[in-house]
Each structure stands twice: as C-alpha cells, then as structure tokens.
C-alpha cells in the first residue's frame, strides 16, 4: 500500500487509493460471495467490476422474470386464489 505522508490530519494524508481500498473492503465484507481474498489495489478494482456484473445479472433476471410473469398472468384467475401470500411464502422457504 502507498506510504502515509506527514503526521498531520489522517484524512488528508490518506491517498485516494487507500480510501477506496478501505471502503471496498467494507463492501467485500458485506457481500461475502464476491471474492474473499486478501485486500490489494488490484482486488479493489476487481471487486468493483464484479459488483457491476452482479448488479447487471440481477437486473436482467428481474427483466426476464417480469416477462415470464406477464405471460403467466394470462393463465390465472384474477381473484385472490392465486395471490395467496402463505403459499408463496412457503415456496420461498424452500429456495
């Protein structure tokens, strides 16, 4: 990691790299499924990139699921039968 400069206020002597790496570590900790290896500058960039891919993947899934749901809605009864919260919650617990 780049060396700290003078002994003046901590925030002003931390390089941007250090700030980013510190914060990316935080992100990594919150998203353990991404890249649990030792922190470094290269790792920080990788985490940012993987996060972007992951977000895009999830958003695409939302798109696909919306399309699928739209097609399925044609086939079901608009009355509350099929919007039963409990049975959906039960299916959720199985995933």
């Amino acid at each position: 990691m780049s060396s700290r400069r003078s002994s003046s206020s901590r925030a002003s002597t931390m390089s941007e790299d250090e700030i980013i790496t510190d914060l990316v570590l935080k992100l990594q900790a919150l998203l353990p499924q991404l890249n649990p290896r030792k922190p470094s500058r290269a790792q920080a960039s990788k985490v940012l990139k993987e996060t972007c891919s992951y977000i895009r993947k999830l958003e695409k899934e939302v798109d696909d699921l919306s399309g699928r749901m739209s097609q399925l809605l044609d086939t079901i009864d608009p009355n509350n039968q099929d919007f039963d919260l409990d049975s959906i919650r039960r299916s959720l617990l199985q995933i």
């Binding site: 980013i20 972007c52 608009p78 099929d82 919007f83 959906i88 995933i95």
Partner: protein, 161 residues
Amino acid sequence: MSATTEQLERNFTHRFLTSLRRINSPDSKTTTTHAAGLVIRRRSLRIKRAAYSSMARAAGSHRAWTRALLSRARSQRRRQQHDVHPNYIPPAQRRKSSVKRAAAAGREMGRAGKLRGLVPGGSRMEMGQLLEETAHYVQCLAVQVRVMQAVADHFSSSSSM
C-alpha cells in the same frame, strides 16, 4: 437469513403481490384491439416497475438509492401521463443534473464510474456512501429476484393444475 432480511422479504412480497393484483385486475386489462404480444410486453414493463418500486418502499426512505429510484419513477409516470417519452428530460433539468453528475463523477470516475451508473442516485454520492448504498442495493435486488422467482413458480404451478 437475518431477521431484517426476512422482514424485508415479507414487506416486499406483500407490496409486490398487491401491485400484481392491481395490474391483473379485469378493468386494467386492455381491450382486444391490441395484439396479445403487445399486451404481454406492456404488462411485463408494469410488473418490472412495480417490482422496483415495491422493493424501494419496502427497503425504506432512509436509503439514498430508494429515494432516487422512487423519484425517478415518479417523474417517469408524470411524463407518461402527458404523453412525453419516459426517458425525456426537459432542457433546464438536463443542464443542472448533468453538471452535478459530471462534477461528482470527475472526482472518482476512473474506478467507480460504471457503478455510479448502476446504483440509483449513484452519480451524486461520494465514494463512501456509494459503496454502502451499493451493498444495500445488491442485497435488496437479490431478495427481489428470489421473491419474483417464487411468485413466478407459484403461478406456473397453479396454471398447470
């Protein structure tokens, strides 16, 4: 799953199903003059928007991304009501937001530029906030996908009965 994630999931599921019921209600079904494919595509868009709005509301307004998302949805709805294209930004607004975005992005663009474009409100955040909001946004998206999957599976199994 943590207690808060469970609560989020329940809250989102409830809101989302309420929206679906409204989208699927008989009076909202379009007339038969529209081709079936168009109806399905339009409804798919409504479902998608309902999913994001339901999640933003379930997640709560103390998050910057939820506020940004809901505010974007509001202005899209307003523009649609006036027959304006949802992605249209009036000239005055366009100028202000692009200056803000450029200034913020100019500081950190190199490493987090793409991320700023993906997280709602990301272009206005400084780095620390961006990463926190990102983590929360991703967690909520994952819940959203999981619930939508369960709902779709449920519909598909009830229709095959």
